[in-house]
Symmetry: C2
Subunit: 211 residues, 2 copies
């Protein structure tokens, strides 16, 4: 018989606590920002003792990086799965909008932004965050190239640079939505993008007949 709930085997309890702390770290980063992400605030949110932050992660910074890892891994999986089903520019735009919306709602984008903006305050944190951002950029490049692969549009724009712009736009929209406490402007932009996608498709010579 396997017991459930809070009374489990030690190894499981430990894993539960780690998970709770990581989840709480994401939560606090989202709601209180990097400057508010203290050991006590996070442990309080996880409803566990403050000392456990240091027992499990050694330092607050390591816990925050673990939170960033968690978010990065979760999103990469989501992105890659979604990308499989995309072939046209319109579909890519729809996917991007879907994924952006999810990240704004879940707070994953906020975690990313707070860690990037907070990186300035701790030596070495910048490099660690940078490593964890790379997959997001790589995904954007891959997504663009999988769709624009043989399109003449690549003769006029560079996919790596467009990907960089898309990531920047993503981060900036999160900053503004979070400040406003209002996702409406981002959503309005998305619906414009949705309407414009077929036009880009046309310009790129990606009419359905040509595939």
């Amino acid at each position: 018989m396997v017991r459930t709930g809070s009374a489990r085997r030690p190894a499981e309890r430990s894993a539960d606590t780690r998970r709770a702390l990581v989840a709480a770290a994401c939560d606090v980063l989202r709601t209180e920002g990097f400057a508010g992400a203290t050991a006590r605030a996070i442990a309080g949110r996880a409803e566990c003792n403050q000392g456990l932050v240091f027992y499990h992660f050694g330092s607050v910074m390591n816990l925050l990086l673990a939170a960033l890892d968690e978010v990065s891994a979760r999103r990469r999986d989501r992105y890659e799965a979604a990308l499989e089903s995309v072939e046209t520019t319109s579909e890519l735009v729809a996917l991007a909008i879907q994924v952006f919306s999810e990240d704004l709602d879940s707070g994953d984008a906020a975690v990313l932004v707070e860690m990037i903006a907070g990186a300035a305050s701790t030596p070495g944190l910048g490099a660690a965050v940078k490593e964890r951002i790379a997959p997001w950029n790589d995904f954007a490049v891959a997504a663009l190239e999988s769709v624009l692969g043989r399109s003449p549009i690549l003769q006029v724009v560079d996919s790596a640079e467009v990907a960089h712009a898309v990531v920047a736009l993503y981060l900036g929209l999160e900053l503004l939505s979070h400040l406003d406490g209002d996702r409406a402007p981002a959503m309005a932009l998305f619906s414009q993008a949705r309407r414009l996608a077929p036009i880009v498709e046309l310009l790129g010579g990606q009419l359905k007949e040509e595939r």
Copy 2:
């Protein structure tokens, strides 16, 4: 005879100190981020006593807001002056690139980003920052409308939404450049935009002959 340097009339010394603290606050926000912008760090950078932060501004947060005011006012003046001489889309893009580059180099963009990202950690700060962002958005809208005024392009995109996207892109590019310690990707994007501007001009029916 007017004395210069550090020995001046009391009122001038006071103003000098305030200016030094505001400048130091910008500097620290840029290099240490919001979380590193403490009274001691700022006073140290200004080479004055820590207690003067509270004498002149009452609290660290007020000083940071004064720094944001300073940056906002300075940039608004710069933008408005530059906007006067702009008529075509190509000119607008060139202006935007010029202004973006200046803000990345001077660190004004970093001040803005750090204050927005840091706003989450202090109740009430979000609203204060939001007020100070409004002019930036207003400028972007005015710039777009002054150029696209009678262009048919406004029948397919909304200038307020495009302006929002431009501001978001601006903030996102700052986040990424700052993390990378490298403005090259942003600059590469700018040069792409410069090449693409004439195409947009063409699509928008803004050929020189038509003016």
